[in-house]
Amino acid sequence: MDQRTAVTAASTKLTMGKAINSGLRAAMERDPKVIVMGEDVGKMGGVYRITDGLQKDFGEHRVLDTPLAESGIVGTAVGLAVRGFRPVCEIQFEGFIFPAFDQINSQVAKLHYRTQGMLKVPLVIRVPFGGGVGAVEHHSESPESLFAHLPGIKVVSCSNPVDAYWMIQQAIECDDPVLFFEPKRRYHEKAEVDTEATPYPLFRSRVVREGSTATLAAYGPMVKTCLDAANAATEDGHELEVIDLRTLSPLDLDPVFESVRRTGHLVVVSEAPGEVSIASEIADRVQRECFYSLEAPVLKVTGFDTPYPPSKVEEEYLPDLDRVLDAVDRSLAW
């Protein structure tokens, strides 16, 4: 059932980074209109090597080392998409997506609507995001909530190599623009990836651990943190259900509602600052959908509402196992 444990003939152990690389390769082989573009994605294969080897194998016209400007990357990708290509843009680090914000908001998200559906913008914007890698400023942020507020684009995040392999391909196949958030600090985590399995649908969240005491909802880098917390919680006799949200816009909260109706307790975990965030949205929806089931208010465990701090204190900033369990305790004790 769980792809991460199935081992078949087509199964290989891959890091998440390599899984995305393989997924990109598979998509490029399948469709000659898929092109990859960004800073240093070509000869060098990207600063995280996610596009490693692609330019060598697919040529400079399909893997473009672009000039250094993010609005240019996304803005030209829009034109390429309108022309019939399926561009996959890389933003080198999430902190550098902001120069492209205008193109994403004003063109990427709206062209389909503006033209009454006559134009499609099937592009993917890959964004390595999140902290925990000891980096300097602008290299550890979690801006996904901003994009989840924009109608017209879809936003997803993978948390493990299996999903990474499939989700990138599904995002490329999707006729809507997709922002694809990759948890950079999990790039090196490994799992068996069965390239012949039937993939789980892209825009669906998923229970990754069942439990009955309380529910944890998370995405991207925090899924592992929540799974670790759930493991630790068994010591106290708690069985925490963990849901990997996977799709952040549109949110797929039915599994969360279902879970909360059973457990009565929900903790939403995310690295991003908590104010006006995806975590807030989930709390809002759950308090409405599960009003009579909640035994405690929905709690958030998030990054603090500050700029990302110097890396020497980032472990304090980032939600960890203890903070998650503390929130679970607070919820249970409400």
Partner: protein, 402 residues
């Protein structure tokens, strides 16, 4: 026209020679404004007085333009002006939320529009009703945007005419990407089906980062894109000297592709220069920047009151350079058209205007469901639920529940 180097910094490399070469504000403005002195800096084939002047370089690009074709260009300009005036009137009568007039820019737009081949692609800004006309988009189809029934109403693929873009500069990057795609698909070269892209923007737009990035990308990828800047002297209330010290066509110098200034009120020159530039691009020698030097004869939009910021003298001076009048004079003087022709075109224009009017009055409002449709190509269950709930809520009113 005297070289701009006389009034601004000399060419780089000379180092200290630049000292004290700084132009006075008056010199900058004079340089930016200088247009009718003629000379190599401004391509003009038909003077404001309707005289055809020879141009050894560009005549070849209009040598197929005989009497019939010239009458055609005249007709185009008269019709688009008439449609434009009708749009303005419809707004005044409350039929449109706003209108963006092209008045004065007919030659710049028809010259460029008629230079395009069917296979070329066009990315307009929001004032290109004349280019739309050349792409087979009917004036009626433009009304939706300004009446507020749709954001955009023509099929951009069928017409090879992208929707209007309002966010200044955005379309320059989109067009550059499209042109890169033309190149990647092998559509650049000497085949008859070779393609190019033309993108329209204003003088104000040149300040935007996106326009610069479009220039950078196009230069680096040899994209077959013609950057067509209609310098109509104003960005709402701001004159060109708020955007640049140098004539805008010279911006291209810093990127290593040609920039050229054409008399934007001369339809023949705009046609010639656009054909040249498009040919450059189609054959793989792009990009090219064209500055069509023209004038916004009306307000920025119907919401604007230009008397707050510019003198009527200026307008009066530009009236003497009217793009339509000079063609009319030329047609008459050279015996290429009789009064009958002009009367016919007038009649046709009246016809067009009254059809446009009738069309406008009969435009239905979109249903409330329009709000929710075509947000996503692949759907969105949350949004569908939102729509259903709203439709149900509305139904409640019908039943008198509220």
């Amino acid at each position: 026209m005297s070289s701009p180097e006389q009034w601004t910094h000399p060419e780089p490399g000379g180092g200290p020679a630049a000292t004290a070469a700084k132009p006075t504000p008056e010199q900058v403005i004079a340089g930016l404004r200088a247009t009718n002195e003629g000379g190599a800096e401004l391509v003009e084939l038909l003077t404001p007085e309707g005289e055809r002047v020879a141009n050894p370089e560009f005549d070849q690009y209009v040598d197929d333009i005989g009497a019939e074709q010239l009458r055609g260009l005249y007709r185009d300009m008269v019709l688009v002006r008439r449609a434009d005036r009708e749009g303005n009137a419809l707004q005044r009568q409350g039929q449109l939320g706003i209108w963006v007039p092209l008045l004065g820019q007919e030659a710049a737009q028809i010259g460029a529009g008629r230079a395009l081949k069917p296979q070329d692609m066009v990315f307009p800004s929001y004032r290109e009703h004349g280019v739309a006309w050349c792409r087979g988009v009917k004036p009626e189809q433009i009304l939706a945007t300004f009446r507020g029934t749709q954001h955009s109403d023509w099929d951009p693929v069928e017409h090879r005419f992208h929707p209007y873009t309002i966010v200044i500069g955005n379309q320059v990057l989109n067009a550059t990407g499209y042109a890169m795609g033309q190149k990647f698909e092998g559509k650049v070269g000497n085949e008859p089906d070779a393609e190019a892209t033309m993108v329209f923007f204003g003088d104000g737009a040149t300040s935007q980062g996106d326009v610069h990035e479009g220039f950078v990308w196009a230069a680096v990828y040899d994209a077959p894109v013609v950057f067509y800047c209609q310098n109509n002297q104003w960005a709402i209330s701001e004159p060109t000297e708020r955007q640049s010290r140098l004539p805008l066509y010279q911006r291209a110098r810093g990127y290593g592709f040609p920039g050229i200034r054409v008399d934007g009120n001369d339809v023949l020159a705009c046609l010639a220069v656009s054909r040249w530039a498009l040919e450059q691009c189609r054959s793989g020698n792009g990009p090219v920047l064209i500055e069509a030097f023209t004038y916004r004869m009306d307000a920025h939009t119907t919401s604007d009151d230009p008397t707050r910021y510019r003198l009527s003298d200026e307008l009066e001076a530009w009236k003497l350079k009217d793009p339509i009048e000079r063609v009319r004079v030329h047609l008459v003087r050279s015996g290429m058209a009789e009064q009958e022709f002009f009367d016919e075109v007038q009649l046709e224009a009246d016809q067009l205007a009254s059809e446009l009017r009738a069309y406008c009055f009969n435009m239905p409002d979109p249903p409330a469901e329009r709000i929710f449709s075509q947000v996503y190509a692949g759907g969105n269950p949350l949004l569908e639920r939102q729509r259903d709930e709203y439709v149900q809520y509305l139904a409640g009113f019908e039943g008198g529940a509220h």
